[in-house]
């Protein structure tokens, strides 16, 4: 630490503007970036499922016919596929979210560790989807 250094005088000359490159099909996101965008996509999918879930919940509670209608609908093959997607959304959001909470607390913030935990979170979510999905289907 030199006593002479002042933050202003040490400043390097301004950099030329950085290229803006937003061609989504050609950007190669690193793994933590993939986990991040999937965290977002899974969140949006679950938000869209909220009103349908609330409606089905109300229907299933209110009467036996309502319950049969709700469960009958949930058991149709196409809906089961959607439920599997939601199951993955929940699990990916869960494990990626736990990873973010740990990073907020200061764990696994450096690049190598961040890459490892990104792979770990996405991997556990996929494996758990297969296991829980087995119970679902």
């Amino acid at each position: 630490m030199s006593s002479q250094s002042s933050p202003l005088s040490d400043r390097k000359p301004p950099l030329p503007p950085r290229p803006v490159f937003l061609d989504l099909w050609r950007i190669r996101l690193p793994l933590p970036g993939v986990v991040s965008i999937l965290h977002r996509i899974s969140g949006v999918l679950m938000v869209l499922a909220i009103p349908i879930s609330a409606w089905l919940f109300g229907m299933a509670v209110t009467s036996e016919t309502g319950f049969q209608r709700a469960t009958g609908w949930l058991n149709s093959p196409l809906i089961k596929l959607l439920l599997l997607v939601l199951m993955w959304s929940f699990l990916h959001h869960l494990f990626a979210g736990i990873r973010y909470l740990l990073m907020d607390l200061g764990y696994a913030v450096d690049l190598a560790a961040a890459r490892r935990t990104a792979a770990l979170a996405a991997g556990i979510a996929l494996v758990a989807t297969l296991i829980l999905g087995g119970g679902l289907l």
Partner: protein, 121 residues
């Protein structure tokens, strides 16, 4: 939400609600996937059980708050025209609020059914 604290407050809300959602959401998912109720009576009995009902009544507003902060961030990132942004944000706000009221109402209906006369398992 005051303008100055909006960012930090939302950040804290998102993390605190996440902790509860992880715990109770996992319980709900495991319960419904591995031991789904076979009839309405069974379902109502489960929903109306004191700890489940209390858990749900906490879960619903916290989940909706979490969903709102999340979808708000996404919409603000991707929708730039002001009128459209306000319109879509309002739409989701109403959708989530309506869902929440509907779900809370269902929990209370289940409670009333279980304690009311004439309903036996």
């Amino acid at each position: 939400m005051s303008r100055q604290a909006a960012g930090l407050k939302a950040w804290i809300i998102q993390r605190l609600s996440a902790v509860y959602i992880v715990l109770f959401g996992s319980y709900l998912a495991i319960q419904l996937v591995f031991a789904p109720p076979a009839s309405q009576a069974e379902f109502v009995a489960w929903v109306a059980a004191p700890l489940v009902a209390l858990g749900l009544l906490l879960y619903i507003p916290l989940l909706l708050l979490h969903a709102w902060v999340g979808i708000r961030d996404v919409l603000i990132d991707y929708i730039k025209p002001y009128e459209l942004r306000v319109g879509v944000l309002s739409f989701f706000a109403l959708l989530l609020l309506g869902s929440g009221v509907w779900a809370i109402q269902a929990v209370l209906v289940a409670r009333a059914m279980l304690s009311g006369p004439g309903i036996t398992g």
